[in-house]
């Protein structure tokens, strides 16, 4: 099922990449499909940049969603929560809703309580960059990546089909997960890695010796890359996925404390085994990434 009138709220890296990917899919499709795209963004520069991409560009959420069949919320998580709470009044006749927020339990809980004319599903495309904004958006951002979907009490077959068609246009792969499991998983593979990457950067910067930068090589570059993540986006993620993140910090601390103890006690045999087990886990993950579905 193909919806025609789409409204994207928030034209940052993710919303912008989605808008670009949809336009590219439309222009390169074997069977052309109609697409009427409305962009809602509060930033005047972003709105100006979106003029050629969208049919309608507005700063006003009410005007943007007025005639949309599918509203895609692509702002920071807490702005998504506020938009979801405002939608029943702004759009009493209801519509389809997909969000692209990085934590899902809070958002899905609000979706669960939407009035019945709304059909809503939670989403999270597993792709990103350490740079934010429409200027960094590219139409291939989601290509080959997993696009997680979380069903809610307001998820219908119709909104599922609309969203699966959208994901096919992005050349991504849909994966349905319960919202709480999603939150635990992204805490482990995204939010915890951010905090760890950030703490590494701060510990290094704390040495306050600028000779450290020429000494640093690709290992430091890669482990600290995501410490440059947009603070506002990360604040929303951490505060709305707080419990899962705290749980993953504990799981991480257990591992780091264990290896620290082996090093403190110079337990060479156990330390070597720890290093070998870690390399084996890395290689299992690599094999999946190289030979798995993506």
């Amino acid at each position: 099922m193909q919806v025609e009138r789409i409204c994207i709220v928030g034209l940052g890296l993710i919303g912008g990449s989605l808008a670009l990917a949809l336009r590219l899919a439309q222009r390169t499709a074997v069977a052309a499909f109609p697409l009427h795209m409305t962009i809602v963004d509060t930033n005047p520069d972003t709105r100006a940049a979106a003029e050629r991409l969208a049919d309608v560009v507005t700063a006003d959420l009410a005007a943007g969603v007025a005639e949309a069949e599918l509203v895609i919320l692509a702002t920071p998580v807490r702005v998504i929560l506020r938009s979801l709470e405002a939608l029943p009044e702004l759009r009493p006749s209801g519509c389809m809703i997909l969000d692209l927020g990085s934590s899902k339990a809070d958002i899905c809980a609000v979706m669960d309580k939407l009035p019945t004319p709304f059909q809503a599903v939670g989403g999270h495309p597993m792709a990103g960059k350490e740079v934010a904004g429409f200027g960094a958006a590219t139409p291939d951002l989601f290509q080959g990546h997993t696009f997680i979907l979380c069903r809610t009490a307001r998820t219908t077959p119709a909104v599922e089909m609309a969203v699966l068609t959208l994901i096919a246009h992005l050349r991504a792969t849909a994966l349905f997960l319960p919202a709480t499991l999603h939150d635990e998983m992204v805490a482990a593979i995204s939010h915890l890695p951010y905090l760890v990457s950030a703490s590494l950067m701060r510990a290094a910067a704390g040495m306050a010796d600028e000779r450290l930068w020429p000494v640093s090589a690709s290992g430091f570059r890669d482990t600290t890359r995501i410490s440059g993540t947009n603070p506002q986006m990360m604040l929303d993620i951490l505060l709305t996925n707080r419990e899962a993140v705290l749980g993953q910090i504990m799981a991480f601390q257990e591992r780091l404390t264990a290896v620290t103890h082996l090093l403190q006690t110079e337990n060479e045999e156990a330390l070597f085994q720890w290093l070998c087990e870690t390399q084996a886990e890395y290689l299992t993950y690599q094999q999946y990434k190289q030979y798995g579905r993506q």
Copy 2:
């Protein structure tokens, strides 16, 4: 000053890349220079692979160093320490020595005590990969990277000049640092990042849900890449740089504990400030890397 007879002990990623870079430099130099290269390696497959690259290939350290002007030790750190202790007996007339080990205080302390016919300097090229062995070696591995040198009681102007010429052939940039400062710095930008990367990988693998891998994206890939580092090499590094690594783990733990506390107490204002400061530190480091000497 150009030395002609070089012996490389250990043809792994680092020793192999150095051998390839020297041959490439010799073949592309405006003024051709003579180079007689001996390779010492205990692995028969590696020796077979080195036949076309080297003038002499041997498994015997004594035979390999017998006529070398410059011996380059490129094995794991504790093998370097054993070789340094064996050299006075194997080569009573002395020679120049450079090592490429990843920790320097222990090695430089042994170099300090070499008999006077030896001229020795500690070295550490700041380049690497998560894959080990001659098969992963490339002649451009060191190009544009910093090559740290640590002076010892046996460092003479002659060995410094020989090694600086070598570093120029690698198209790397020499940086002299005291051995203890080197060890603290690499603990911060290499050994601590390894332990953190490894703990992240183990925490994720501990979830024991294979759906985690398709969910993971570039942030997880980059923060965990160095968890695949060769265990034997890392064991030597951690045990020979133990104190500096433990110190950096503490510096890291301070930062992670601080941000965990802000999240636990939902101190939004302070958390946002922490995220902004971290991004600023990341950007300072990026600016250095983009506009600095490398």
